[in-house]
Point group: C2
Chain length 243, copies 2
DNA sequence: CGTTGAATTGACAAGTTTCAAGTCTTGTGG
DNA sequence: CCACAAGACTTGAAACTTGTCAATTCAACG
């Protein structure tokens, strides 16, 4: 038995824009089921299309592009609440792949109903566009990070932002949250070599700002970490819709 | 007298998805006028909202973020056909600024009519989301470029992609097109220092692949340039809608 | 145990930034 | 018409950051 959208535990989180009555009704029809996948599963493959769209409910994953050289650029980390497959939905095909890092549970939608969403539920269509705009904003921030920060600041920024996302989802407690990625994943996200990432992690650990071991992130000194990252510790998360 | 959407010269370009009859009708009502601005004008400012949305018709501009340190990350180059202000439209405020590099002519829409677009013209709403997805794709590519390429390849990639965009818009002839930016703009887009950008440009010039002087880009050897950039010379532009 | 994948470390090479200075172009006012 | 100022572009040298190569350690697993 799948969870009814009515009781969706994610929706209650204050990061997500509340749904109006008819939106919720629509989503209950739009949702076609749930999917559980194992760690390591490729959910979407760059260059292909997918008959399904998803919202992550549990677990974590990665969006990435594979370059001609065989290298990998991690575009973003996938956490609960993230919508997956918008590109496949509106464009011809995915421009990046999505892979499950841990076991995941996903909410499943049919791509062929996407047009009905635009036609019958403009509120949800608006939210979908909003979500795309938020995504664009986040990528813009990533770009600025890669373009203007050295390794230390990049990693500090990544940790602050992951921690904030985790906190907004209720995954973080006292600065600790699960972060089940490999150093290579982080390196590929930040455009750093594995070796340099490793050495910088040690540096941060010795500095007492943050530790990341055995898939656990521990933010020991949030203000210090924000200081290294050049981020304002008081800034607010952007409100976004949940699809 | 402003141009009627019926005769919009941009719309004819094959890069843009053709509009269906009712879409065109809707756009004629949605458009509230045209705006001409001088080079140097800031069209949208990060952190503010704008009552208007635009589509660039003529001229070129820049989207950029200003970092706390005062540095600038150029997110993208604005060319004719680009939609400006989606973030302001759906989110609370712009997350980046937009500035005119040359004199520009823009098609103007009222932000307050955006909701009507979603309600009354789902086709256009769909296209707007599509556009956001394309934007996300482009940013993802930029990210991969910053993350994995050295200065030479970054600049080569930027030139190939600008050239292709220009060619699709009919701005390029025999590999030549206007590119009225400063070296500093390119450096800020690619996350390179001005000095290194300059030296790398000389390197490319000497190699005979491409020249960029006096606001003119001359692609002398497209295949060579693609080779440096690590791009496939035969790849196709992504079809996208025009708003 | 041996194997595998991940994390760690040191040494060196390469790429990039920073600093500092000089040139070229353009527009302006005397 | 010339002198000057401002902005963009160019260049060289030194310092620094980061990548690459090569080994080693560590933990999990059959």
């Amino acid at each position: 038995m799948t969870t009814d959208c009515l009781n969706c535990p994610l929706r209650q989180r204050p990061v997500f824009e509340p749904m109006k009555g008819n939106e919720l009704d629509f989503m209950r029809k739009f949702k076609t089921g749930e999917l559980e996948i194992n760690a390591g599963t490729t959910l979407m493959l760059e260059g292909t299309n997918s008959p399904q769209l998803y919202t992550a409910l549990k677990g974590m994953g990665l969006r990435y592009k594979t370059l001609k050289s065989g290298e990998r650029q991690v575009i973003n980390f996938v956490l609960p609440g993230d919508f997956i497959g918008l590109q496949a939905g509106v464009m011809q095909e995915m421009q990046h792949s999505v892979e499950a890092t841990t076991d995941m549970k996903l909410c499943v939608f049919d791509r062929k109903n996407l047009w009905r969403l635009f036609r019958d539920c403009p509120e949800r269509a608006y939210d979908l566009t909003w979500l795309a705009a938020v995504e664009e904003h986040l990528l813009g921030e990533n770009l600025a990070i890669l373009g203007h920060m050295n390794g230390l600041r990049r990693i500090a920024s990544a940790f602050v932002r992951l921690h904030d996302r985790g906190a907004a989802l209720g995954l973080a407690h006292n600065g600790r949250m699960p972060l089940p990625y490999k150093q290579q994943d982080l390196a590929d996200a930040l455009g750093l070599s594995l070796v340099h990432t490793n050495k910088t992690l040690r540096h941060l650990r010795k500095g007492g700002a943050v530790r990341w071991m055995n898939g656990q992130l521990e933010v020991l000194d949030y203000d210090l970490l924000c200081g290294i990252a050049g981020l304002d510790p008081g800034r607010r998360a952007i409100l976004r819709p949940l699809i």
